[in-house]
């Protein structure tokens, strides 16, 4: 039960910051939104809602159409390249995400289905923005689309570079479609 009252970081609450302001502070640190002007970013923060997941509950499944992006506030998400997540602890996840990480933003710009199943590994609280709302916001600030594309291009290029390094060390790098 306690996991369901969205954990607001105590500092912010004490300062009397509204949840919107806290969301905005978060979003200003998310790489996907870097480059956005304050007004559109404020709109996105305002349109986002805080949600929670219990351990084991899925954020989305492989093969599903992306409907929302998520920014982790507290807790951990595990991604598996499978239709269902294995039982907790059965195997290492293919990728994992912690506070401040953004999951599923790239997917919102395209029409492809998810390649991974993503579940909460611990009690999770996250900020989520639906495709519908993002699109409506983009219609108002067309610049949003452009900036997201720029941020993604940068990120994909960085990813590729790090993948090359990883290749040299014979590690695998998975999960670019989760960006």
């Amino acid at each position: 039960m306690s996991s369901f009252t969205a954990p607001s970081s105590t500092n912010d609450a004490a300062e009397g910051k509204s949840e919107l302001q806290q969301n905005l502070d978060r979003y200003r640190q998310v790489w996907l939104f870097s480059g956005l002007a304050l007004e559109p970013l404020k709109l996105l923060a305002y349109l986002s809602t805080r949600e929670t997941l219990k351990p084991g509950e899925p954020l989305f499944h492989r093969g599903e159409l992306p409907t929302a992006m998520a920014v982790v506030l507290a807790g951990t998400l595990h991604a598996y390249a499978a239709a269902e997540a294995p039982p907790a602890g059965a195997r290492e996840p293919d990728a994992s995400f912690g506070p401040g990480d953004c999951v599923g933003g790239l997917a919102l710009l395209g029409k492809e289905t998810h390649n991974y199943t993503v579940v909460a590994a611990e009690p999770l609280s996250y900020l989520t923005l639906s495709r519908e709302k993002l699109q409506r916001a983009m219609q108002q600030y067309p610049d949003i689309g452009l900036k997201l594309c720029e941020a993604l291009a940068t990120r994909v290029s960085q990813w590729d570079r790090s993948a090359l390094d990883a290749l040299a060390r014979q590690e695998t790098r998975l999960g670019v479609s989760l960006l």
Partner: protein
């Protein structure tokens, strides 16, 4: 075609009766205008000079009567003129609108909705005005002019000749002056544009200007342009005023000649005094009809140009006929499609489709796949008679699609567009849109074109069946559950009782499971997902004075707020909510989606913007009206949903304390005015869902809502209430363009709308692209079990996991079909489809 109609055709077409009436009234009016002049003469010559009081009274009376009559008739003329004009305008708009609806889709690629709106709404008004005036103004004024002139000749031919001699001079002088005025006006517009560009440049480069301290340079440039504008504006004004002065000059020098000549004649006894006065009046009055004629000429010019431009813009032939030439029953087609060497060429000689061949037996299913932009939608649109192909043929049952009337195509085809459009109205209205359009034109219909005879329409059972098949059932059910029952719906008393019964079962069966997601209406707790008003009242208003929208105006409630020390905190809260919302949404359109997370309603935004623009004023000093509005906003505040302001512990405590106080105070003041939340009572102000939950859901995340709804569906079925709630849900209003529906819901509704017709041919252009997997497979199943063999299906498909069971798969590339066959064949061939499938999987 309406666009070929000359402007004058509308004058001819306008009601003959009205026009004749108008002419008759004009005749009398002209007489009534000239008559007072004669009276004037008689008053001076007969009554005054002969000192006859009775005559004086008689003539003055007649004078007054004719002046009154003339004014009255003038009013009648205006009325007639307006009604003729407005009727013509109405006809013009309607006919043009109907014409525009038939124009080829390609036309709308180039013409924006804004252009169409401007044409229909603004551009045509001038033409309408002209049609109204076309007879009244020229006839009235010419006749009046002639009447006055004739009267003047009757009084004194010499003097009439002298005074009217001036007018030809005017006609000679005015037009060139007017032309120059117009030229200078054009120069003025151009120069203003140049100045605007300059200003825009300066503002755009403001960083550079300030960084370089170049203010003086920009200032000088600006001044140069200002000087040009100054010169042009002065010249323009000189000419413009010149025209006026010239007119006035003639107007006032006329009497000078008349005094001189008329006086001389009068002194010599060749002209009596009364006649002179009458003559002067006539001369003065002749100017008015003259001016009106001049103005009318302007109106005519303006109307002519704008009318021609508007009609020219839409002067395009429709590509298809709407109805068969001779009345006959609609063609029933079986649905075999035969395409031969189909070519669709657009401007620039680009072939969007280039030699397509295919053949589908009736009942066969074809999946159309390929890269974005390869022409899949275009092919579907050519089959659906939305585009007219430029070469080759598309035949259905051996009939050329391009030649069939639209009514036959619509009767036999269900078309789900790639971005389906949903109209403002209820779910049910949208669901029946295709069926209603397909009913005969002469079926009884209301003003909105909706069929009024329920026997002609599908039954509720049938609608629910389709709603279920297309998977929009869950959504419709949710809309039903989220409806607040209207109080007057007395027949729903039974419904209310059943809902309360379900509430008990829900608590027992699912309460513990779902408790995490729900917030029950509990006495001692602040309800984060209910409004502040609901938290205070903790009940629903029986008397409308206590409804949230009236609460802030109730004196009793205001007194209570002050006593509970809530007034100032609530004003502050309201103020903060207003400022935050305006800050975030102030420049955005009034889109309901944006306002979901604010207590402000979209239509209130403008007035709150004004409030914020006034700056900060101590809240207690605000006008009463503003304070009431702030309170109302604060009373709607729901901390679980509205996150733009922090919700303090202090306020929470005050409200919780206030809840008990309010109850005590109200019981004493107005017992029974509010019915407090009770586990065994129906809460009128809450939707069905919240009545069942006896609380609110904490989130609207789909997976949570789904769980809650699953639990409720079982209980609804037990109480035999499912259909009742679904039929309430069918009345949900979807908002403009279906804005209150999600993308997936819109798609499902569009599919249901097409299925509702049970057509022999279905064209679905990425119809399931926004659906979740479950909805998609449901529709896929339905297509395979219900439609295979019964309806020919052409489905453009993006997600390749669903095409295995189609009879044929066609792969498109750059306007051509590069591969066609069954899924298995094509995969075995390892050609384009194989590449597409595996390419798609590698991402």
């Amino acid at each position: 075609m309406v666009t070929k109609k000359p402007l004058f055709a509308w004058v001819k077409e306008s009601s003959l009766k009205l026009q004749l009436l108008l002419l008759a009234v004009i005749g009398v009016t002209v007489a009534a205008r000239v008559f007072p002049l004669e009276m004037q003469k008689k008053i001076i010559n007969e009554a005054i000079s002969l000192k006859q009081v009775e005559l004086l009274v008689l003539y003055s009376g007649l004078y007054l009567a004719s002046v009154l009559l003339a004014s009255g008739l003038k009013y009648v003329i205006t009325l007639l003129q307006t009604s003729i004009g407005e009727r013509a305008l109405q006809q013009m708009r309607q006919q043009l609108f109907e014409h525009i609806l038939t124009l080829p889709l390609g036309f709308f690629r180039k013409t924006s909705a804004g252009t169409v709106i401007a044409s229909l709404v603004q551009e045509l008004t001038a033409a309408g005005e002209f049609v109204g005036a076309a007879i009244a103004i020229p006839v009235t004024n010419t006749l009046t002019l002639l009447g006055f002139a004739a009267y003047m000749f009757y009084l004194s031919p010499t003097m009439a000749a002298i005074s009217l001699a001036l007018y030809p001079v005017l006609i000679f002088l005015l037009p060139p002056l007017q032309r120059r005025t117009n030229n200078w006006n054009k120069a003025r517009v151009e120069s203003t544009r140049v100045l605007s560009n300059k200003i825009s440049e300066s503002i755009g480069g403001i960083h550079e200007i300030q960084a370089n301290g170049a203010n003086h340079i920009e200032g000088r440039k600006h001044f140069r342009f200002l000087q040009d504008l100054y010169r042009i504006r002065i010249t323009w004004t000189l000419y413009r005023q010149g025209v006026k002065v010239l007119n006035n000059l003639f107007q006032s020098t006329g009497p000078f000649l008349l005094f001189l000549v008329g006086g001389w004649l009068a002194i010599n006894g060749r002209f009596d005094l009364g006649a002179l006065v009458a003559f002067l009046s006539a001369y003065e009055k002749i100017y008015d009809p003259w001016k009106e004629l001049m103005d009318f000429y302007q109106v005519y010019q303006d109307a002519k140009v704008r009318y021609a431009k508007t009609m020219e813009a839409f002067d395009v032939e429709p590509e298809f006929v709407l109805q068969p030439a001779e009345a006959r029953a609609k063609q029933e087609l079986a649905g075999a499609i035969e395409i031969k060497n189909l070519v669709f060429e657009v401007e620039g000689g680009i072939r969007l489709l280039n030699g397509i061949d295919m053949s589908l037996a009736n009942g066969e299913h074809l999946a159309l796949v390929g890269f974005s932009g390869s022409g899949k939608s275009t092919l579907a649109q050519c089959m659906g008679q939305l585009y007219k192909y430029t070469g080759g043929s598309v035949q259905i049952d051996g009939r050329e699609v391009a030649e069939l009337p639209k009514s036959d195509i619509a009767h036999n085809m269900g078309y789900v567009a790639q971005a389906p459009f949903i109209f403002d109205g209820t779910i049910q209205e949208n669901l029946l849109y295709g069926v209603e359009a397909d009913l005969p034109l002469d079926a009884p219909r209301d003003d909105m074109g909706r069929v009024t005879d329920p026997a002609l329409l599908p039954s509720l059972d049938r609608m629910i069946e389709v709603v279920q098949q297309t998977g929009i059932f869950q959504d419709v059910l949710r809309f039903g559950l989220n409806t607040v029952l209207a109080p007057e719906q007395g027949a729903q008393a039974e419904l209310r009782n059943k809902i309360i019964a379900i509430r008990q079962d829900f608590r027992n069966d699912h309460g513990p499971d779902l408790a995490d997601y729900l917030e029950f209406f509990e006495e001692g707790r602040y309800l984060e997902h209910s409004s502040l008003a609901a938290n205070l009242i903790f009940g629903h208003p029986v008397k409308s004075d206590y409804a949230v929208e009236n609460l802030a105006k109730s004196q009793f409630f205001k007194n209570f707020l002050s006593e509970a020390q809530l007034r100032l905190p609530l004003l502050t809260l309201g103020d903060e909510l207003a400022r935050q919302t305006v800050d975030i949404l102030g420049e955005l359109p009034e889109d309901a989606l944006f306002f979901e997370q604010s207590p402000m309603l979209p239509e209130e935004l403008e007035s709150w913007k004004e409030y914020v623009a006034r700056g900060r004023i101590p809240l207690a000093q605000l006008p009463q009206e503003d304070q009431d509005r702030l309170l109302e906003l604060a009373l709607r505040f729901t901390p679980g949903r509205h996150k733009m302001v922090p919700f303090s512990r202090l306020l929470e405590t005050l409200v919780l304390e206030g809840r008990g106080r309010f109850r005590t105070a109200l019981e004493a003041h107005d017992p029974g005015a509010v019915s407090f939340y009770r586990a065994d009572g129906y809460i009128e102000s809450q939707p069905i869902l919240d009545n069942i939950l006896f609380g609110k859901a904490k989130t609207d995340q789909p997976h949570v809502m789904e769980r809650i709804q699953q639990a409720i569906v079982m209980l609804l079925i037990e109480q035999d209430m499912l259909e009742a709630v679904v039929s309430i849900g069918l009345q949900f209003r979807v908002g403009t363009k279906g804005d209150r529906l999600s993308g997936g819901q819109k798609q499902k509704l569009a599919i249901a709308r097409a299925f509702m017709k049970e057509p022999p041919i279905l064209i679905m252009d990425e119809a399931t692209s926004a659906l979740d997997n479950r909805s998609q497979s449901r529709i896929q199943n339905l297509i395979e079990t219900k439609w295979k063999g019964r309806a020919t299906l052409v489905a453009v498909v993006h997600r390749l996991d669903i095409i295995k069971n189609f009879d044929q798969v066609a792969v498109m590339k750059a306007g051509k079909i590069v591969e066609q066959g069954t899924y298995a064949e094509l995969m075995a061939k390892k050609g384009s489809l194989y590449e597409l499938v595996h390419g798609a999987q590698q991402h």
